[in-house]
Amino acid sequence: MANFTPIASLLGGMLIGAAAALLLLANGRIAGISGITAGLLSPQAGARTWRVLFLAGILVGAFVANRLGFGPLPEIAASWPLIILGGLLVGFGTRLGGGCTSGHGVCGLARLSPRSLAATAIFMAAGVATVLVLRHLIP
């Protein structure tokens, strides 16, 4: 097993879970990043302030933690056309599917939603299949 970081990943996951718990129990909101982000794009989505503050918090929280030495820096092998294609697919797909790794994968599974279980199984399988093609099938 390569680059395995069980303790840091478990603790980081617990922080993510704590953030989702706080947003739910205090504000009644699902911590789904794609949904919160998309809410800023559509004019009828209502309150913007909390969405901006939550997303800004993610950016700042990650920056501070990283500069304090917690966790790795991003290493990205994809070329720029692949990055653009990936971003388009992630944006379009998460809106069409109603959620991403956080909304379906963490919050949806935590509320035992069959819809989120299906979504999580599908995007995991699609991710695994894509990496299989890129890393093992294309010479």
Partner: protein
């Protein structure tokens, strides 16, 4: 109530971002190392992300259970929870497209935003494309 509500959103975001950094999710290389199940035979698989998911659920499952026993959240009037139940074509197709994009680069929406302040031009480019993809869905599909 409004001010408290917005401050809570900021604090939740800070925790979320710190979690994404500490867990390694901000690193697409690590994410792809998890999705690369076919590296298991050669010993190149990184199971860390299963621990991220496990750690998050360890806290989120009891929180959602607790929320069911409460009439309202602390700083807002109602819970805003998804009402859809059906596994429909949009869910299946959307999740598949998302998974393909995730596997191409290694970013999903949270880590892409978390990496905006870290090194490199890739996270900003990915995030712009992601916003364009979201807008395209709203425009063409509704």
């Amino acid at each position: 109530m409004k001010l408290r509500h917005d401050i809570v959103a900021l604090i939740a975001g800070l925790l979320f971002g710190a979690g994404l950094a500490l867990s390694g999710m901000v690193n697409p290389g690590k994410v792809l190392g998890f999705l690369d199940l076919f590296a298991i035979p050669a010993g190149g698989w990184d199971p860390s992300l299963a621990f991220v998911m496990g750690g998050a659920l360890l806290i989120a499952v009891p929180a959602f259970a607790l929320s069911r026993r409460r009439a309202a959240p602390v700083c807002a009037e109602t819970f805003h929870l998804p009402e859809k139940q059906a596994v429909d074509r949009a869910l299946i197709l959307g999740s598949a497209l998302f998974g393909i994009g995730w596997g191409l680069v290694g970013f999903c929406p949270g880590p892409a935003i978390a990496a905006l302040g870290l090194d490199g031009w890739q996270a900003p480019l990915f995030t712009l494309a992601m916003l364009a993809g979201m807008a395209a869905k709203d425009r063409w599909v509704g």
